[in-house]
């Protein structure tokens, strides 16, 4: 897409409106009204996050865009960057204006090389056409955007780990308080927002917060990009209203289960969230409804598993990921993730005892809520939910030293 094409579809109209007709506080109010919640995974109200940035003070304020998108099952930022990078540029400009920042860092995961090149070009084009840089559109507002590529660590998607990485250090999440809003990048007030969040800001300012809120459910405004993968006929990234039933996403949009097998389980929001069984897919896909049944909407990565999936193997794969990605700073996460992985490997290999299943639950329990960042919880939640909901499969591995699911598939 070129800048010209983007403009023809109404692009940069919202930015013009914001820069010439609105004060930063009005922008923040509009976003608050929209009910927009952070699309990175935590679902924190965006307008409120912006209002935490101090409006006065000698220090510069920074806008940091989190495009480290590393949660397994998630690929929405990538789609946005590939399909409509100018929407992101416009969202960045509006949001930076709202928090009074004139410097923005765009942190993109190292593996997204092609996407980084697209962004590089989009930034250059935006500068060329006066949408970034000095005196944007003659409004007197200045904004510089710098692109920074990560080096391949999941933990750098955690906002303070990202800030450390951006500062050239090892991506160890920071102890809070202080929070980034008061002491973030280089010790200055900083707002870290996800790519999808910032793009959502554009229509909100174009059509109003109330309009955006009306698209979703109460307190869960707007639409969401759901990245559907796994055993479905039409995997892909779907923009759907908040609150749409999970069943509808799987069967109406993703075409149902591949080869018309039976559905066994669904991860509703990226690999770290508690898994749902086939009986739980009538849940409405908004932050509060999914939380109400004990899981999380998370990053919107919907991973569908059919009846042929060995849940022990699925959990082992996830646990390997978190053991590999733990930064190693906090004791429970550093030691716990590796311990879980090793024990799960033995369960899968048929080399475990009954007590090991209880140990897994105990280890996961001790990892919950005891660390600086949420990676420990992210590693523990799947373990607890998989074993609780599919305990018979784990017990079969322990007792029969093999997998009943995989054996059935082979037959």
């Amino acid at each position: 897409m070129t800048v010209e094409e983007y403009r023809q579809t109404g692009g940069y109209e919202a930015l013009k409106k914001v820069l010439f007709e609105m004060k930063p506080d009005q922008v923040i109010e509009e976003v608050k009204k929209s009910g927009l919640r952070g699309r990175g995974g935590a679902g924190f109200p965006t307008g409120m996050k912006w209002s935490f940035i101090p409006k006065t003070g000698d220090k510069p304020r920074y806008m940091v865009v989190n495009s480290d998108e590393s949660e397994p099952g998630t690929c929405k930022d990538r789609v946005i960057i590939e399909k409509t990078p100018f929407l992101l540029m416009e969202g960045i400009a509006i949001s930076s204006y709202a928090i009074g920042s004139s410097t923005c860092y765009l942190y993109i995961r190292g593996e997204y090389y092609d996407q980084a090149m697209i962004l590089k070009k989009a930034i250059e084009d935006a500068y060329k056409h006066g949408y970034l840089g000095k005196n944007i559109l003659g409004s007197g507002y200045n904004l510089d955007v710098y692109l920074h590529r990560g080096a391949g660590a999941y933990i750098c998607g955690e906002e303070t780990g990202l800030l450390e990485s951006l500062e050239g250090k090892k991506g160890w999440p920071r102890l809070k308080p202080p929070f980034p809003a008061t002491s973030g990048l280089y010790g200055c007030p900083t707002c870290v927002n996800n790519v999808e969040t910032l793009t959502a800001v554009v229509p909100i300012l174009q059509k109003g917060g109330d309009w955006y809120a009306s698209l979703g459910t109460p307190k869960n405004g707007g639409t969401r990009l759901f990245c559907v993968s796994g055993h479905v006929k039409k995997p892909g990234t779907y923009e759907l209203p908040m609150g749409i039933p999970l069943r509808s996403i799987i069967y109406d949009y993703a075409g149902g289960i591949k080869d018309d097998r039976k559905l066994k389980a669904v991860i509703p929001g990226g690999s770290s969230v508690p898994i749902l069984t086939a009986n739980e897919i009538d849940v409405k896909m908004d932050f509060d409804s999914v939380a109400a049944i004990g899981s999380l909407l998370g990053s919107g990565g919907v991973v569908v598993m059919n009846e042929d999936t060995c849940m022990v193997k699925a959990l082992l794969r996830i646990s390997k990921f978190y053991a590999h990605e733990s930064c190693g700073q906090c004791t429970p996460c550093r030691e716990g993730t590796t311990w879980l992985k090793k024990t799960l490997q033995r369960v899968y290999d048929g080399d475990a005892r009954q007590e090991d299943l209880d140990h897994l639950l105990g280890i996961a329990f001790n990892m919950m809520g005891t660390t600086i960042c949420a990676l420990s919880d992210a590693a523990a939640m799947p373990v607890r939910s998989y074993i609780q909901k599919f305990r018979h499969e784990f017990e079969y591995h322990v007792q029969h030293k093999c997998c009943d699911v995989e054996a059935a598939v082979r037959v």
């Binding site: 590999h324 004791t331 716990g336 993730t337 280890i363 001790n366 809520g369």
Partner: protein
């Protein structure tokens, strides 16, 4: 000033106080690995988690500041479960090699397991193998299997020594303390990482396998390595004399003093104790006969010394005698030296300053260029003489007849150089050396009187800023050696002056009454953190 309640006990603390600090004031033990009061907060070990009313998650006590009305619980079932869980995580890959670990007995893993753990092991996996027993510098050995990755050492080299030799490499379960490329942990403060390491990951090469820590006795003392006067404990092995090849002092450890050295000491001081149990120690009085030293008993030695001093005085006057005192001596030693030689014998040529050919240098942090612990005390006690200057005397060869030289604890050969020291000493007919160790200077003497080292005596040193600090005997004087003040008292008694002092404390009481700057001081007032010389009487020397 917020008021906090911890385990049902209320306390009002200054703004900015953290929960862990407030708990310390209440003597409530909150376990910790990464927290150290001298370093920045890492908050990563997760051992100090506490429950705070109205907060859903447990919070680290090290990073949470007290607010007014805060209600904290550190002994609830929820906290106990979390702490025990963290301990379990730390121990799953620990090698449990306590029987061969120097840290055993003062290890936070051992202590906390007994206090907060006592669970049954659930670890059924193979432990992670890591680098063991690597010398990472001249003084420190690293065992990464024992490491709990608290990052205290890393923060120390960043924030205190500013030398940045080590860091944490890799991530997750593979995380390890390593030296940075082309680095060696070789800075003048490297030994401190051993002190602050809560486990046996960093151990001292000097102390390695020498003695189990539970055999060590500890005496509060002051480092004699320079004029800073860092507070230390002298840790000695008196229970197992067959360990460590007869070495009694096993190690020096820093002792907290917020006005002097905080938590640290330098390596020059830390490893500077070797002379105490060195074979060169003088253990009995010696007299040179036909070029060979022969042992004497103290009575004969004292008689010989007094006879020689009185003979010199009678034949050529008091000005034929020079007393070289030493800034290595305690205030008590110096006071008695002045009392006997100066006041009672009327010898005016007493000085402690010996010019150094190669002056030492300070390091800008704790270590000072003046490598003597009591220069300030010597100035205060000896300076009201008639202005006799030893450096001047050494510079210009004397015209007056010189009879007797009495040297206290100064190796002139090292300070002046071989030729100049021989030339200077050679001007005297009789030389008495009073010191702890044999050296080139002692070998030039006719009579040698063995003294106890600072680790073997009770007394006080005055540091460069006029802080008088107490030294306590950690071990007995070796052989027949004696504290200097006792030796000089013995000489005085032989010469007919019975001072009647029973202890160093009595000497100090007399000193405080006699020397203006020490007015008002007593052992009790000095305590274990020191007390400053009277400000009003302060003389800039």
């Amino acid at each position: 000033m917020p008021t906090v309640t911890i385990n049902q006990i209320s306390l009002t603390v200054p703004d900015g106080t953290t929960i862990i600090q407030a708990a310390e004031q209440l003597n409530i033990e909150i376990p910790r690995y990464c927290y150290h009061p001298g370093l920045s907060i890492a908050g990563s070990c997760r051992m100090c988690l506490v429950e705070i009313e109205k907060m859903p998650k447990l919070q680290p006590a090290c990073n949470t500041r007290v607010t007014d009305g805060m209600v904290v619980t550190s002994n609830s079932p929820k906290v106990k479960e979390a702490v025990s869980g963290v301990l379990e995580f730390l121990l799953i890959n620990h090698p449990l090699d306590c029987p061969v670990c120097d840290q055993a007995g003062e290890c936070y893993l051992q202590d906390y397991y007994m206090k907060f753990g006592l669970y049954d092991s659930r670890m059924n996996e193979n432990k992670i193998k890591r680098h063991k027993a690597e010398a990472i510098g001249p003084h420190v050995i690293l065992d990464t299997e024992r490491c709990v990755l608290c990052s205290r050492c890393v923060r120390f080299v960043r924030e205190v020594s500013h030398s940045n030799e080590i860091g944490i490499f890799n991530r997750g379960g593979q995380s390890e303390i390593r030296l940075l490329p082309d680095q060696v942990l070789d800075n003048n403060y490297s030994g401190n990482v051993v002190d602050i390491c809560p486990v046996g990951a960093l151990t001292d090469r000097d102390f390695r396998f020498q003695c189990r820590v539970w055999y060590l006795s500890k005496a509060n003392s002051v480092c004699n390595g320079c004029s800073r006067g860092c507070n230390i404990t002298v840790e000695a092995n008196r229970q197992r004399p067959h360990h460590g090849e007869g070495r009694r002092v096993m190690r020096l450890k820093p002792r907290f003093n917020k006005d002097v050295n905080q938590w640290w000491i330098c390596d020059v001081g830390r490893y500077g104790y070797k002379f105490i149990d060195d074979p060169s120690r003088l253990t009995q009085p010696l007299e040179k006969k036909n070029g060979e030293f022969e042992a004497l008993d103290w009575k004969t030695a004292a008689q010989r010394a007094v006879d020689q001093i009185q003979a010199a005085k009678q034949s050529a006057g008091a000005n034929s005698i020079v007393i070289i005192a030493s800034p290595q001596l305690t205030n008590e030693d110096l006071f008695i030296t002045r009392k006997f030689f100066g006041m009672d014998l009327g010898i005016e040529q007493i000085d402690f300053r010996v010019p150094e050919v190669v002056p030492s240098e300070g390091d800008g942090f704790l270590l000072r260029a003046d490598r003597n612990p009591n220069t300030r005390g010597a100035e205060a006690i000896l300076s009201d003489g008639d202005g006799f200057s030893l450096p001047r005397m050494i510079e210009s060869s004397s015209k007056q007849p010189l009879k007797l030289l009495y040297i206290c604890e100064q190796d002139l050969t090292v300070k002046l150089g071989d030729d100049r020291s021989r030339q200077f000493v050679g001007q005297f007919e009789y030389v008495i050396y009073q010191g702890s160790n044999e050296n080139e200077t002692s070998r030039m003497a006719n009579l040698v009187l063995p003294t106890a080292t600072y680790a073997e005596v009770t007394g006080t040193f005055t540091n460069f800023e006029g802080r008088v600090q107490r030294v306590n005997a950690g071990i007995e004087p070796l052989g027949d050696s004696m504290p200097v003040w006792q030796i000089v008292c013995k000489l005085a008694k032989t010469a007919g002056f019975d001072y009647g002092y029973e202890s160093a404390e009595e000497v100090f009481a007399d000193l405080a009454e006699t020397v203006t700057e020490f007015e008002g001081l007593s052992y009790e007032r000095i305590g274990d953190q020191g007390a400053k010389l009277a400000e009003s009487a302060h003389v800039q020397a």
